[in-house]
Symmetry: D2
Subunit: 340 residues, 4 copies
Amino acid sequence: MAFFRILETLYPPLTAPLGELVMNGRAGEWLRNGMLFPMLGYFGPEGTFTHQALLALRPDASARPYSSVAAALLAVRAGAVEAAVVPIENSVEGGVSATLDYLSAPDEPPLSIQAEVLVNVNFDLAVRPGTALSEVNTVITHPHAAAQCRGWLAKHLPEATIVERGSTAAAAKDVSDPTSAFDAAICAPVARELYHLVAAASDINDNTGAVTRFVLVGRPGNIPAPTGADKTTFVAYMRDNHSGALLEILQQLAVRGVNLTRIESRPTKTTLGSYCFSIDAEGHLADARVAGALQGLKRICADVVFLGSYPRADKLSPLIVHGSSDAEYATSKVWLDALR
Amino acid sequence: MAFFRILETLYPPLTAPLGELVMNGRAGEWLRNGMLFPMLGYFGPEGTFTHQALLALRPDASARPYSSVAAALLAVRAGAVEAAVVPIENSVEGGVSATLDYLSAPDEPPLSIQAEVLVNVNFDLAVRPGTALSEVNTVITHPHAAAQCRGWLAKHLPEATIVERGSTAAAAKDVSDPTSAFDAAICAPVARELYHLVAAASDINDNTGAVTRFVLVGRPGNIPAPTGADKTTFVAYMRDNHSGALLEILQQLAVRGVNLTRIESRPTKTTLGSYCFSIDAEGHLADARVAGALQGLKRICADVVFLGSYPRADKLSPLIVHGSSDAEYATSKVWLDALR
Amino acid sequence: MAFFRILETLYPPLTAPLGELVMNGRAGEWLRNGMLFPMLGYFGPEGTFTHQALLALRPDASARPYSSVAAALLAVRAGAVEAAVVPIENSVEGGVSATLDYLSAPDEPPLSIQAEVLVNVNFDLAVRPGTALSEVNTVITHPHAAAQCRGWLAKHLPEATIVERGSTAAAAKDVSDPTSAFDAAICAPVARELYHLVAAASDINDNTGAVTRFVLVGRPGNIPAPTGADKTTFVAYMRDNHSGALLEILQQLAVRGVNLTRIESRPTKTTLGSYCFSIDAEGHLADARVAGALQGLKRICADVVFLGSYPRADKLSPLIVHGSSDAEYATSKVWLDALR
Amino acid sequence: MAFFRILETLYPPLTAPLGELVMNGRAGEWLRNGMLFPMLGYFGPEGTFTHQALLALRPDASARPYSSVAAALLAVRAGAVEAAVVPIENSVEGGVSATLDYLSAPDEPPLSIQAEVLVNVNFDLAVRPGTALSEVNTVITHPHAAAQCRGWLAKHLPEATIVERGSTAAAAKDVSDPTSAFDAAICAPVARELYHLVAAASDINDNTGAVTRFVLVGRPGNIPAPTGADKTTFVAYMRDNHSGALLEILQQLAVRGVNLTRIESRPTKTTLGSYCFSIDAEGHLADARVAGALQGLKRICADVVFLGSYPRADKLSPLIVHGSSDAEYATSKVWLDALR
């Protein structure tokens, strides 16, 4: 039955033991030809921009969708997958808050971001092969996607009926059924390909240039080697809510020449008026300036949660201001040691 | 036909002239008894937490859902509604990025936030009157809501089939149809009430305590009077991406004793590596310290977009540090004028 | 009697009424030809570098030495002189601490610095006309001057006896007496000229390049017009001795783009561990950024004592960083006023 | 001849080899009873407040006056004395600038401050035993001392003739000669005792409470052990004269919780507009926060000259702000090492 896609099928339960996974068609693929392939999780369903991000990061990996960011990240912790792809910034389909929340868990070491990728958020009008644009009378998609393509729809399909579905990927799957009640889906290119549809039109979103950032998250302590163009992500928890607390946090970074690329305040869930700051900084934990800043923050903050050092998607090298290079750290250490 | 809810019906077109609105049932209500009632817009559909936020802010207002944050805010600009309620922080149903983007528009004065409200994000399992929990075999809801109630569902309805719908409100509406194929919807309390359902269970989300912040947005320049417990929202655009730029922005606030309650960096869409900072600060534009900080930021930033001063939902008075009260500003001005 | 120079004669008493001054030879000069000339005071005696500074600032003024910085500044307050020249930085003959202390007085408005001048501290070996360097067997000078010329003396006059006197000017006066027991004085060029001596050698100090800064101090509220290359001097008293208090003071200056040229912490005499900061900043009280910084400091400090805005001796124009010009202050004010 | 006190006698030449010193009466004392006593130098002459400071610091030490701060400090470098006492702050008799200049020398390791002492600057009116106050007609002293006692003199000795001498100690020595032309000297208590005079009056300075700070300076690298109440002195040379350079220097201290007790900007002698900052900070080089701050400054500054860690004269323990204790430094290091 076309309209009913049962979550249990699409999103395998996190708690499923590995033995059960082997019985599953998807998991069987994992062991195909007697070879073990790495399995990556992601915030599904299949055919979303998160799925597209995973394919951009690891085109050859086996991939397994989870029904929530939390489930995908718990699967990493449980060892069901090697790592998982989740949105971390500006996602049109949600999930960002959950990502920041679930990277760390009480009484568990935090997970470790291992890579990031930027995906352009461009929608296709996907139809079954043979359907012309002029033949499209009914369109199915997620309400947010419909809103983003409102202008294009008003101009090119002013008479079409627009019906909502729980995800753009589900919409594409629906259209792929030859008996579908719908002529077209608004969806990501990856969903169009997955369900063997063709694009009656591409890039139909009214605002072009929107980009979502996704990260590949692995088990704790799994830090990629520095590349010279890296980012470090962490959360700093204010010790108390005094005026100027954020300034003090930023000064720990500034005095070591560590530049930020993202900062976001978030209320902590424990105390009213208590905040933490989710921060992306240029550089790698292996860089003296980054290590020094983290150590400084650890001293003055209630807590600091390190969430990974990983290559930047844009491959930009950081500007190393005077006095913040590893060489200058080493030289000043020699000078200091001679004094003592 | 239960499954097809046409967007045009649920979300009236923004461009509809006021005359046409009168023809609409909802708009007719607006003129009922020959009386003009203020009409508020909101990011719909009906029955979402945004709708619930509107009812909390203005229980007696007439309300009209829009299919996107952008559409709701454009309706404010166009005069179709007096103001609109949109999510601005931590929304489980998205929209936050859009809110921050569309409060200001090129070549137009920015809209003005007039009030905020915090809504607890708690889900009901809503059923038609007479349905017992033990009779629930099929549940319909939005995938994100299903993910948030995963633990409860596994424990209390392990055998139920979960089906996705584009919004929790749409799910509730579906269940309200006596011929519905579904026994229950996971939805907000407001949707349950709207569709005359009853709660087979309440607060079924696994994590309690989640709160979403919504704002009421009005036309530019419409600033509520200070209450003594106010917030001011603005966006500061960095002049150039030098190291320490954020520190300079925060120092403009700190030296005047202005405390922050939220900060979020956002890439500007014009230049790679260019950022703006979306900030909520304690205090009101009428406070000397806030006015001084905004003026200082205007001088050093590429631009500052003022988005409103409005009463805080939590009614907390700001801590006025020494030297930042209006009286101290006035006294120091007298001193300075005597020198010159 | 050559060795006794009575202080009362050299340094007229501060409390002398103007009528008495007329009776004095020096004061008579002041009324010579029935014309009133402005009278300037200075930290004497005649023939010191302070005297030289006065002649550099106002070559045509009548000048009257005082026996201490305090006496010279009290004479300004009392109206006995129009203004006074005193050392403020790096003086080899002392007085700097007193200058900073006596510019402000309890329950009186602070005096106002009106000009500054830099004087090269170079010593002459001054002899009576006709005395050759080879004939110098005895040298008289102040001990500090002897110490500064130690290397030159060891090389050129290794056999000479060095005798100390209370000031270099007194030494020169002594040598000018044809019956003097001394062959040469180490003194400032102004003392050599004053006492009609000639230089057997010039610039005999071991370290060349030493410069002392002197200021011309007038009555309160007497502020020279801005020239575009000005300095502003003030003292900021910390409100309490918390860690970071100085940082807060400097941030009030930095956020308005006001650059410092001198800072000196000084213990206040009231409380143990309480400090004030004596500061020279670029710019004039008439500059918006300077006025804003002073107002900000007045708010956060226990007190701020404004000591004058005056042309810089080096005529260097300040670097106006982005956002700190008067025009940018005015523009941002217009923007702010439009919001309110 | 009373008036002629030859500098060579009073201030032994720096270059005198140790063998010669043995021949000298003063140096003989050094070897008295065949025992080697440590010899300390000081900025003389005998009987000044600097001498008094030396006696307060090391009552039993042998002491040798030098004619300038530079000479005293060179004697330390040359090994002629173990250490030397020199004024460093607020001295009424000068020398402060020289002290800061000569602690470091080109191409030589800087000397090391080993102790500090605060001396109350109170003057005696010293007379030969048997002279009554009413018999005092002539007073001899240094001009600065006369100026500081002006009010007392006007009240108690309105008819006395005041004559100037090169130092207050020289004045006392003069009066100690029974054939002296003077009845009394204004001098430090130490000079009165040294020359066997008695106080006709004590504490005759108009402003009481003045305090001068002296330091004991030893050879490079000679650092006293931490006491828990220590001070660290250093000079930081700005890398370039950009606006905010001082702020950056202070931030290196502030982010590590290092508090200042003195700061003084000083022009460097090399470039116009180039500054260094002479700083006293709470804590000891052995404290992690001080070492970290010095290392940070070394990185960002053109140079940092460490001038010593030594016990505070006031024995005040520093306030250790949260995150700046050695224990917190160690804990954060463990945390950081576990991440890497």
